[in-house]
């Protein structure tokens, strides 16, 4: 279980996240929703050790990890897919995937994981694609490669930061389908999204972040019925 308790984060003198708490249990698909500037990415970066927390705790199976550096957090099984393009552009698709093999188990399972990953993302699985430089892939393919790469490490928890951002609608459908299938395999996923409509359809639970504070939480169906969500996020 990944637990975040009363997390506060900021930049310089500006506090962005105010005592945010949430949890991601085994096998769950949980979303953090919110508009631009709500603090979603900041929250994830603090969980991953990319920003130092000002206060609060991050617990992985009860053990505190908020003092650890990013590579140590990754080695504990947290895989993070950032919102910006984070492929290594001058390495091939295959080299990008292989870089994620950071544990003995991931190395052993390489062939099998790769088959599963290619099954999820057939667009990047051809032999010619694998030898292509990652920087020459389209935006959507790069996004898929980053998720595929995260899966290669056999993560205990998968944290996705706005995977649908900037994708063509048809690709967004494919992507959410892939997220559902990853979830069905039992990988717990923490999904940060602005696409509230689609997200609420696939998640178990969701939290709504506004101005750095969690203002609502509930199951996907509960939240989609709430008037505030319908007015502010779904436009109904």
């Amino acid at each position: 279980m990944l637990e975040v308790k009363n997390l506060s984060v900021g930049y310089g003198n500006l506090q962005v996240i105010h005592e945010v708490s949430f949890a991601l249990g085994k096998g769950e698909l949980v979303a953090l929703l919110g508009g631009n500037g709500a603090g979603k990415t900041t929250t994830l970066k603090a969980v991953m050790g990319l920003l130092p927390p000002w206060g609060g705790e991050v617990l992985l199976d009860g053990k505190p990890i908020h003092q650890l550096k990013t590579p140590s957090i990754v080695s504990l099984g947290l895989a993070y897919v950032p919102e910006h393009k984070s492929v290594f552009p001058k390495m091939t698709v295959l080299e990008n995937l292989e870089l994620a093999l950071n544990s003995e188990k991931a190395k052993e399972m390489k062939e099998e994981t790769m088959r599963e990953v290619f099954d999820l993302f057939p667009r990047i699985s051809s032999k010619t694609k694998l030898r292509q430089m990652a920087g020459t892939l389209s935006g959507g393919e790069q996004r898929m490669l980053v998720i595929a790469r995260a899966l290669m490490s056999l993560p205990a928890y998968l944290l996705l930061d706005e995977p649908s951002l900037g994708l063509a609608p048809v690709l967004v459908q494919d992507l959410f389908e892939a997220i559902k299938r990853i979830h069905a395999k039992g990988v717990p996923i923490f999904l940060v999204e602005q696409n509230v409509n689609l997200t609420l359809q696939i998640v178990d639970r969701a939290y709504v972040l506004e101005q750095g504070k969690i203002v609502l939480e509930g199951s996907g169906s509960e939240l989609s019925e709430m008037p505030h969500i319908r007015e502010s996020y779904l436009g109904i």
């Binding site: 895989a79 552009p89 292989e98």
Partner: protein, 288 residues
């Protein structure tokens, strides 16, 4: 001397110069790519390698080419020490690091001057004026061996970066430190390895140069200028660019040695810097 002999001579000299230029720039550009540090002290590490080789040969009676092995090991130790006690504290200071590395250049050069004095020294190779015969052509054996060792080192390093796990991690950090860290790559460890490789390769280059040309504690700046020209021409941080640019500058310098007295041959490098900055300021093969 007929024209074909002359052409081959110029070609071989070009290869010789290029091989050293590429070797010295390789470390500089690797450190720049991975650590975002412009290492002015690179030249002084080269000179330190020259003195280390001199000591191994004259005081310990080693064969100069065998001595290259302990020299590289010694330089790796120097690399580790300078990383732990110096370089790691300069990683996040931004452009101010340039001052720190200029200071390091002065510190190392001055320590060498205190120990060895200002006289020019060279490492006796024992090969004298032996020539190697390649078909109908002759070339100094010493320069030939030096070029082979330099090129083999560059080839080995390139292969290491291309194929090995650590090499791939080094390339990953040079492309994006944050993306590398979220892949679980310890960027501090990778930067330490990069720094040690850079310092060792500079030391090796200095030892090789010491076999061919005399050197003094402050002689490194000449090679620093060449290394910067090669790095700028190739596009700072691009290793492939370094190799291409090293050959361009080395070959051109060799060709111009026909018309120019050797003292002003570095002018070639300057002309290249000016030309590149005017036409393609990001270099031939820029990283970005």
């Amino acid at each position: 001397m007929d024209y074909s002999t002359l052409a081959v001579q110029l070609f071989l000299t070009g290869i010789f110069l290029s091989s050293l230029y590429i070797l010295v720039t390789f470390g500089l550009t690797m450190i720049f790519g991975v650590m975002e540090i412009v290492n002015f002290a690179h030249a002084s590490f080269a000179i330190l390698g020259g003195y280390a080789c001199l000591l191994a040969v004259t005081s310990m009676g080693m064969d100069p080419f065998v001595a290259l092995v302990p020299v590289v090991a010694f330089m790796a130790l120097i690399g580790w020490l300078t990383f732990e006690f110096f370089a790691r504290y300069t990683l996040d200071v931004g452009d101010a690091h340039v001052v720190h590395y200029y200071a390091l250049l002065l510190i190392i050069s001055n320590i060498l001057a205190l120990i060895f004095g200002l006289d020019y020294k060279f490492v006796p190779s024992g090969l004298g004026y032996s020539q190697i015969e390649i078909g109908p052509f002759k070339y100094p054996l010493l320069k030939f061996i030096v070029a082979i060792i330099s090129l083999a080192t560059v080839a080995g390093l390139s292969l290491y970066l291309k194929k090995s796990v650590i090499g791939k991690k080094i390339r990953a950090v040079s492309q994006s430190k944050e993306s590398a860290e979220i892949m679980g790559i310890d960027s501090l460890k990778i930067r330490r390895i990069t720094w040690i490789i850079g310092v060792s390769s500079a030391g090796l280059m200095g030892a090789l140069v010491g076999l061919v040309n005399p050197f003094s504690p402050y002689a490194g700046t000449t090679y620093l200028i060449v290394a910067f020209s090669v790095a700028i021409l190739g596009g700072m941080g691009s290793l492939f660019g370094t190799i291409v640019a090293g050959f361009i500058i080395g070959m051109t310098e060799s060709l111009f040695s026909l018309f120019l007295p050797s003292q002003i041959s570095p002018v070639v490098a300057f002309v290249f810097i000016i030309g590149v900055l005017m036409v393609k300021p990001e270099g031939l093969f820029s990283r970005a």
